[in-house]
């Protein structure tokens, strides 16, 4: 499993990578996961819906992440924005 984070000016960066079946690596993943959530990030897991359609699932704790998930993507929390100019 990889924990990725979107970053301005960088694209995504890899925060942590490990096998959840290995306790030490899982612990590292959990700690990195908590750090990001504490920093105010949202975490999403890209998944497939029942019909095979791609979608994402927002997770609030590491135990919510499917064990077979390949990636968890962290991104800044949504905020009501405002752009002054008309596009």
């Amino acid at each position: 499993m990889k924990l990725l984070r979107m970053k301005p000016g960088h694209g995504e960066i890899v925060l942590a990578e490990g096998d959840v079946a290995v306790p030490e690596q899982e612990q590292e993943l959990i700690e990195a996961f908590r750090r990001e959530l504490d920093a105010g990030m949202w975490a999403a897991v890209p998944t497939r819906a029942a019909g095979g359609r791609r979608e994402a699932e927002l997770v609030k704790s590491f135990s919510d992440v499917p064990r077979d998930a390949e990636r968890v993507i962290f991104f800044p929390r949504a905020a009501g924005g405002s752009v002054s100019a008309t596009a």
Partner: protein, 197 residues
């Protein structure tokens, strides 16, 4: 005698200090200005014009790996992404009654699929304020992916977080209508391409 000399020395030191203090203060201020200017110049020289482009390239690859191949083609060709609304899903297989257009760093536009009527603009941003300096803006495709993930995972939550406006507040409605026409033409062309000759 020693006491008098000591007192004189203290008085002399204080007098000298008072005389030198203004010019010392000026010299310090001048020095700190020079240092700040040097830092600014260094930051300017450190600017990498290819950085944003590389970031966008990475963001596009990540977006592509998360969404359907057809949706990726739509974004690549048209510059926006359509996401079906899930809150009023029609029965089995039929398209949802409404959908969203996701533009990079612009509000999400909701519209009625059958009529093309524009419903609302949802202004939402994902500012990353963790950096001590520089832009808090995600690359374009990361912004699109963040909106896509939030919409497909928790449509009601994202709509609740966003500032809702009537159509035309920030995105030109004529542009959206043109984009809907482009999307319809693009979809027709995609169907023609897969139809056997």
């Amino acid at each position: 005698m020693a006491l008098a000399l000591g007192t004189a020395a203290v008085v002399l030191t204080v007098l000298v200090w008072e005389l030198v203090r203004p010019s010392l203060k000026l010299a310090l201020a001048h020095h700190s200005e020079l240092w700040a200017a040097r830092q600014r110049r260094a930051a300017l020289h450190a600017y990498d014009p290819g950085r944003e482009r590389r970031a966008e390239r990475r963001a596009r690859a990540l977006l592509r790996s998360c969404i359907e191949e057809r949706d990726w083609a739509m974004y690549r060709d048209l510059g926006f992404l359509r996401v079906w609304g899930a809150l009023r899903e029609r029965p089995s297989g039929a398209a949802a009654a409404y959908a969203y257009l996701i533009y990079p760093h612009k509000p999400i536009v909701a519209y009625v699929h059958d009529t093309g009527e524009l419903l609302n603009e949802y202004c939402v941003a994902f500012p990353d304020r963790s950096e001590p300096y520089g832009s808090s803006r995600l690359p374009d495709s990361d912004d699109v992916l963040a909106k896509w993930m939030a919409l497909t995972a928790d449509e009601r939550g994202l709509v609740g977080e966003a500032n809702m406006h009537l159509p035309g507040r920030q995105v030109d409605p004529d542009r959206v209508r043109r984009d809907l026409l482009r999307l319809a033409a693009w979809e027709r062309a995609a169907v023609d391409n897969v139809r056997p000759a």
